[in-house]
């Protein structure tokens, strides 16, 4: 089990990871989410032993890892930009860790892993002749080949199309489960996090601002900023919050985070408003509506609804897409 206690990492004195404490029991997958530049990759690099830890400790099964060089940690890190070995073929890249420990039947295992990431028959290609997504998949296969005690994945699927990403996320989950390998995975795809991970850590400015079982975090963001980062469209306060909560049949609260899809145009909905803007997406129409007693909010309508700007619409609130926030003194929206 991996334990981080008050870990800080700096680059030339500039803090990149600040006072991070995390636990990762065997068999669990922790997704790390956070805005660009918040320190996710740095955190992974520190765990891998590639960045010196300025403060705090990283332990594995209780043993402090300070001073243990990267290659002796038994972890595998998949870099954000792949870092394939340009002069080795795809097959030799994937089989790298296998050759290091003189594993048996290497070619067969390599072919298996390439199959897994949808690159059958690519073994003899050179990395420089691959497409961006193909390269990323080779990097993923290469780190899976290690069969490490801990897998560190830095945005492993970001260069892939949605369909492939979903398929690989499910496969990844299966592999990690089957082997009981704990993993730390950076991602910016919420769906992917949900598919693969058990727990979720949200980082901001180098700190972990919230951590917990993935559904819990989503249901109850720790603060307005986290809520917004997690895809809640707005945070409503005071009267606005009260009105929306009432409409959803919930007791009043000082602040509530509202997903875009929480407010839907529905004939007979309890709230009335005027459409300010509308934009179609594949599934639905996205609206900005000025709701009486609430103010400007995001809302959705089905593709066949009449909801052009200026029209008056009735909206219903879906209680499952709201999150009541603990009130802090922050005044974000």
């Amino acid at each position: 089990m991996l334990e981080l206690q008050h870990v800080s990492v700096s680059y030339d004195g500039k803090p990149a990871v600040v006072d991070v404490s995390l636990d990762l029991p065997v068999g669990e997958v922790l997704a790390v989410l956070g805005p660009s530049g918040c320190g996710k990759s740095t955190l992974l690099r520190a765990v891998a032993g590639l960045e010196p830890v300025a403060g705090g400790s990283i332990t594995w099964d209780g043993a402090d890892l300070r001073g243990v060089p990267t290659h002796k940690r038994g972890f595998a890190l998949m870099f954000q930009d792949g870092q394939l070995f340009n002069h080795l073929t795809v097959g030799r890249n994937v089989g790298y860790a296998l050759r290091l420990r003189r594993a048996p039947r290497i070619p067969a295992r390599v072919e298996e892993l390439l199959d897994l990431v949808g690159l059958q028959g690519y073994a003899d290609r050179l990395p420089s002749t691959l497409s961006g997504g193909e390269r990323q998949r080779v990097a993923l296969a290469r780190s899976l080949a290690v069969e490490p005690r801990l897998l560190l994945l830095d945005e492993p699927l970001s260069a892939l199309d949605a369909g492939l990403r979903e398929r690989l996320a499910v496969d990844l989950r299966g592999i990690l489960r089957a082997a009981g390998t704990p993993a730390l995975m950076v991602t910016h795809d919420h769906e992917e996090a949900f598919t693969v991970a058990d727990r979720l850590a949200v980082m901001r400015d180098g700190r972990v601002v919230q951590e917990g079982p993935i559904a819990d975090v989503w249901r109850a963001p720790a603060d307005p900023e986290t809520a917004l980062f997690l895809g809640y469209a707005r945070v409503l306060r005071d009267d606005a919050a009260r009105t929306v909560l009432a409409s959803a049949g919930l007791p009043p609260a000082p602040a509530v985070a509202v997903r875009r899809s929480a407010i839907g145009v529905r004939d007979g909905g309890g709230l009335v408003g005027t459409v300010l803007a509308s934009r179609a997406t594949p599934e639905q129409v996205r609206l900005v509506v000025h709701l009486e007693g609430v103010g400007e909010v995001d809302a959705v309508a089905s593709l066949d609804a009449h909801a052009a700007p200026g029209e008056t619409v009735h909206c219903a609130v879906d209680a499952t897409r709201l999150a009541i926030l603990p009130m802090t003194d922050a005044s974000l929206d």
Binding site: F79, Q83, Y96, A97, R99, R101
Partner: protein, 545 residues
């Protein structure tokens, strides 16, 4: 702490070798100058520096070496492009051929140049005999291969994509070259240029034969002062001047080499076909081929002319003999075997030391002090190029004569001295490429479970493999061609080819001159063949890890 210890451990061997075989002898000679009668008398040395002749010599040395360096770089760059990034029939042969001058004994080349340029020679109408132009041409002749090789080794594996990116932002090919390619090549170019400058500034035979009397360089002056006049104060003064100049040059070169982020993306080289846009490279290559072919052609023709009986292979047949009137102690063929053997030893020595040095100086530093130490080490190993062979040779005699350093009769002395001269070439060829390796590649290897050695084999070896071959070619050629120190140290029964050639050319006798030419041609051909073979070596399978 651990980093410091690793650094010290890796640097220990090269520093010790250089200390014993370079610092000690040279300081021994300098001491004789500064302590002429056992008491410290720097005044004598300083007064030498005031002589007008010294000023003239210094000025000539600096400007001729500078011009030759600039010309070598200007011609070498386009040629490196053509020979290392473009595919056309015969490019390997050309690459090998252009390195040939590097091993030719300067006396022989001087003679060949003079036969070409002399009043009655085929190029006599140019009126270049004895002019600085001839000297510069001679210096370029010898050294353009350094630029081609060292820069080519760095250029050939350069990733094309940054250049594409620049073009896609609107940069013309010239702008791409200036803003993207040149910065990536800069460490290699500066490295090559500094080596060339040192070779030119310490050139002995070329200046002597082509310069006639009017031009003498610091090196020829030291030679005169040391071997003829035994004016050790004067020699010490000039040696110190040389050292100061070298250190200044190294500081400047270090500045010029420094890039904010040296990492350069490298791929397996896939040269393109030669096309019309490549005319600068093609022209430069052609020009160089002519520059190199003319004197060598003269040599070959001369070697085929048997004195008294017209054309024939007589001179070559005579190589198995000891010359007319027994000019030699051993046949040239024996000397060739000695040369090759010595060169193999010198090559492995300089390669292993050079690799250690290169690794030490290219590791990323974590602190300013560490960076300083590494930069200082980097320059330290260039020093042997900047010091006169005479100073070094005499230094060996007077310092390595007491146990435990009773080494002046050791058979290893010759290969070691040659290795020291080749060492900077090796280091300067490898370092620009090695310092461009992105540390994250090594980290990727480590994060997959590879130990430090394995990481080096995986990441560094494949990238430096070609430069390493180029460097070993250099080391080999440098050793084959080394004359200055070797003539001092070679044992009589085991002379190297340049020593034998020097002997032949200085001895009257119908065939000795022809044999000297033939021996030079054989030396050149041997070099070319060895280069061709070396270039074909691939990364051994362990490197593919």
């Amino acid at each position: 702490m651990r980093r410091a210890l690793t650094l010290a451990a890796l640097a220990l061997l090269p520093v010790a070798v250089l200390g014993v075989f370079f610092v000690l002898p040279v300081s021994g000679m300098l001491a004789r100058g500064f302590w002429p009668d056992g008491s410290f008398d720097p005044g004598g040395v300083i007064s030498v520096l005031g002589r007008p002749r010294v000023h003239r010599v210094l000025w000539f040395t600096v400007w001729s070496a500078s011009v030759a360096t600039v010309v070598s770089v200007l011609l070498g760059l386009p040629a490196a492009h053509a020979l290392h990034r473009r595919e056309f029939p015969g490019r390997r042969v050309l690459r090998a051929a252009l390195l040939v001058p590097f091993v030719l004994p300067t006396v022989v080349v001087g003679v060949a140049f003079r036969e070409l340029l002399g009043e009655s020679g085929p190029l006599g109408f140019l009126g270049l005999d004895g002019t600085p132009v001839a000297i510069v041409a001679g210096l370029v002749f010898f050294n353009v291969a350094v630029v081609i090789r060292a820069v080519g080794a760095s250029w050939e594996s350069l990733d094309q994509r940054p250049a594409d990116a620049a073009a896609a932002l609107g940069a013309s090919p010239a702008q791409v070259f200036r803003t993207v390619t040149l910065p990536a090549l800069r460490p290699a170019i500066v490295s090559a240029a500094s080596v060339v400058f040192l070779f030119c500034a310490t050139a002995f035979g070329v200046v002597l034969t082509l310069g006639g009397l009017r031009y003498s360089s610091v090196e020829t002056e030291i030679y005169l002062l040391t071997t003829n006049l035994l004016d050790l104060q004067g020699a010490a003064a000039l040696s110190v001047l040389q050292l100061v100049a070298v250190v200044a040059l190294l500081l400047v070169a270090g500045r010029l080499r420094a890039v904010p982020d040296p990492s350069v993306s490298r791929v397996l080289p896939r040269p393109r076909r030669l096309s019309r846009q490549d005319w600068p490279g093609a022209m430069a290559t052609l020009l160089l081929v002519v520059l190199v072919a003319l004197p060598i052609g003269t040599l070959v023709l001369g070697s085929l002319q048997v004195e008294g009986s017209g054309w024939g292979l007589g001179n070559y047949r005579a190589l198995t003999t000891r010359g007319t009137h027994q000019a030699l102690l051993v046949p040239v063929t024996d000397a060739l075997v000695t040369s090759l053997r010595t060169a193999v030893d010198a090559t492995w020595m300089s390669l292993s030391l050079g690799l250690l040095v290169a690794v030490v100086v290219t590791r990323r530093s974590r602190s300013r002090a560490e960076r300083r130490v590494r930069a200082t080490l980097d320059g330290f190993f260039m020093l042997p190029l900047g010091v006169s062979a005479v100073t070094l040779g005499f230094g060996f005699l007077i310092t390595l004569d007491h146990p435990p350093l009773e080494l002046r009769d050791s058979p290893l002395l010759v290969p070691i001295a040659q290795a020291l001269v080749a060492l900077p070439l090796v280091v300067r060829t490898i370092v620009p490429v090695l310092s461009g390796v992105d540390d994250r590649q090594r980290q990727a290897a480590a994060s997959l479970g590879a130990g430090p050695l394995r990481a080096v084999l995986t990441v560094d070896l494949p990238v430096v493999w070609k430069p390493l071959l180029a460097a070993s070619g250099f080391a080999f050629a440098a050793s084959l061609g080394e004359f200055g120190a070797t003539s001092f140290l070679a044992r009589d029964e085991h002379p190297t080819v340049p020593v034998v050639i020097f002997r032949l050319i200085g001895h009257p006798g119908p065939m000795n001159y022809g044999m000297a030419l033939a021996a030079s041609v054989v030396l050149a051909a041997t070099t070319a063949v060895v280069m061709l073979v070396v270039e074909r070596l691939r990364v051994p399978s362990v490197g593919a890890f």
